[in-house]
Amino acid sequence: MSGGDKQPLLQVKNLRKLFPIRKGLLRRKIGLVRAVDDVSFHVEEGEALSLVGESGCGKTTTARCVLRAIKPTSGEILFRTEEDTVIDVSGLSRRELRPLRSQMQMIFQDPVSSLNPRMTLFDIIGEPLQVNGMRDRQQRIDRVEELLRLVGLPPEYLQRFPHAFSGGQRQRIGIARALALNPRLVVADEPVSALDVSVQAQILNLMLELQQQFGLTYLFVAHDLSVVKHFSDRVAVMYVGQIVEMAPSETLFNAPGHPYTEALLSAVPQPDPRLRSRRAALQGDVADPANPPSGCYFHPRCRYAVDICRVEPPKLEELDKDHFVSCHRAHELTLEGVMVGTRAERQPIAGAVSQVSSKA
């Protein structure tokens, strides 16, 4: 699966995470939520892989398993360390994980809950430094100031508390903390969904710039397809705990191979009234991960479903080079992407762009 001769930075094989459903006084187990159900993917060094899908499809759970914030039920999570050794982190204990922590970091969705309101910026951003051996206070101050400058915050803010900052600024602080230890893999769980629309672009730009500057590798979780398209090299679409399609971003958006991806793409409202789609929206609700349907999990909502779909679960197979699809009919279907016509013709918000740039 890996592109080059080198092992990918992160390779996840057959990852599974089941949550017990408990009930009653004795907390008896009465069922299982198959939050992540046999997921495999890899992330090359320096690229951005996005996980997309509807709420509850297992994106966050996958991301947290990768970082070992939670323990997966089964599967392998192979991480290539700085010394070029490959370690399976899926079964490591807390103590064994600690030396690896500095190499993978997380950016959180909620800019409020992700910063301890009782600590100053210096304490928040300096904490990873301190627990990883930077004992000298002055050294830490210098490094924190450098990080603040890097994420576009004035270094004088060192002694302020998070409540002094707006959502976008807090997200910058979270990014500074994630970068403190020079991680190689950054997992970003919906980093812009909680932000004001006018601030999202600032954070996306910052994350892209940092990627170029430090060669970061991103595992990016999002539900907003426009953001995903903008941000990622490759995209994996999840549905009820499984990856149903994985492809380079351009391919996935232009020529999706899975009916669910097609439905997702057509549901994205376009910020251009001239592109108003009157395509029928996807009917029905997401399947319950505690009690998924038989065969292909998507079949109750799929307009291409045939008999075999109801009994036989499809497997994730390579449709083209690097384009994986899990659908019985992947080879026969021609699905609609977002690029109807060339980009030059469309220029969706050309008016706005030309107007402002002429003035600037």
């Binding site: 914030a69 030396p99 969705q109 990873p128 990883n132 409540h163 730009n205 910052l206």
Partner: protein
């Protein structure tokens, strides 16, 4: 960065300035608490009460234990502040006698005998703060004994001065509340912490234990336990036994708060962030979790204190708690138990006033603290 960095001051209230940006949790809490008028009044009242606890002997003028058969059931005596236009606080001399027909005790004031009150006068001997021996009191008289001349709140059936007994009782009742709450706090934080930290079976066992303890009606439980205390125990032994009995139930509420906060905080992203940056379990607990629920614990403790005080008072009132000759609010109110004594000397009910006042004060402060406890949750 390509984007223009704006002066952030422009984006957040500048007039409030740097002060708020660098304000720690406690400062923010104080600012918020300060706005709560009732809580501030309550806080002042509590401070006054505890000052009275510290200086109980100093504020008293009579030895609370001394009985004066000739001055029993004295009604409260007015203090005259002016004498012929000049500020000269004094009380009038009193003579006790029995009405020959009804055998009731009657007191006659003698307007010619003016006994001036003195500040920092000498009186009975005591140890200030338990260490400094002295006989100075806030008020007293120069000639004669205070026991026979001043009766600010009257006396009881044995002729003991109610004001001085009230001070002594305040000391016992309010410290017993503090000691019990400290004990509850210890148990609550210990068990709540274990429950929240380990979860699973530990949590289930502790939660069931708490539920069982809470489902037993408290008054019968206390009564049973207190009635079992050996009669021959010393005052001090009884005192500690009572604190333990009271906190036995009190800790469950605090444990519930601690566990709840623990569980909620463990879901916070910043705790996961700390974990992911390689912090040890201990660091997460003491650097992130404990400071985050400290304020909630303080608020919960403040709200638990009045319950403790009321518990002691009711136990003692029922004769199961602190026993005479020791003095507490409950013991004082015990004297007002019979309808007859209330009818004859209604001032024996006066000790109910500080009980009500302190309970209200603690509740106001507790409410204020609870509102201020999370200055970030807007």
């Amino acid at each position: 960065m390509t984007e223009r960095i704006l002066p952030v001051e422009a984006a957040i209230a500048p007039e409030q300035g740097e002060r708020i940006f660098v304000a720690s949790q406690w400062q923010l809490m104080w600012w918020r608490f300060r706005k709560h008028r009732l809580a501030m009044i309550g806080a002042v009242a509590i401070i006054i009460f505890y000052l009275a606890v510290i200086g109980a002997d100093f504020i008293s003028y009579s030895d609370p234990e001394v009985t004066e058969a000739n001055f029993s059931q004295m009604p409260p005596q007015p203090v005259r502040l002016f004498d012929g236009g000049a500020f000269r606080p004094h009380v009038l001399g009193v003579k006790g006698a029995r009405d020959p027909n009804t055998f009731k005790r009657v007191f006659q004031t003698d307007p010619n005998v003016k006994i001036p009150l003195r500040f920092f006068a000498r009186g009975y001997k005591y140890e200030f703060l338990g260490i400094i021996p002295t006989d100075r009191h806030l008020i007293g008289v120069d000639e004669g004994r205070a026991e026979e001349t001043i009766f600010l709140l009257g006396t009881d059936t044995l002729g003991r001065d109610l004001w001085s007994r009230l001070m002594a009782g305040t000391r016992v009742s309010l410290t017993i509340g503090l000691v019990s709450v400290a004990l509850s706090l210890f148990l609550g934080v210990l068990f709540g912490g274990l429950s929240g930290l380990y979860g699973g079976a530990v949590d289930t066992v502790i939660q069931r234990l708490i539920e069982i303890l809470r489902s037993i009606p408290t008054i019968p439980l206390w009564m049973g336990l207190a009635a079992g205390l050996p009669r021959n125990w010393t005052v001090l032994q009884v005192y500690f036994a009572i604190t333990i009995i009271i906190s036995l139930v009190g800790w469950t509420e605090l444990a519930r708060v601690v566990r709840g906060r623990f569980l909620a905080l463990r879901e916070e992203d910043f705790v996961m962030a700390a974990e992911l940056s390689g912090c040890s379990q201990w660091r997460i607990i003491f650097r992130h979790l404990v400071p985050s629920f400290m304020s909630h614990i303080i608020a919960a403790t403040t709200l638990a204190l009045p319950v403790m005080i009321i518990s002691e008072t009711s136990l003692s009132f029922l004769g199961l708690g602190i026993r005479p000759p020791a003095i507490s609010w409950g013991v004082l109110l015990q004297d007002a138990q019979s309808l007859q004594s209330v009818a004859l000397s209604p001032w024996l009910l006066i000790p109910a006033i500080p009980v009500i006042a302190v309970i209200l004060a603690f509740n106001f402060v507790g409410d204020g603290l609870r509102d201020a406890a999370d200055p970030y949750g807007v």
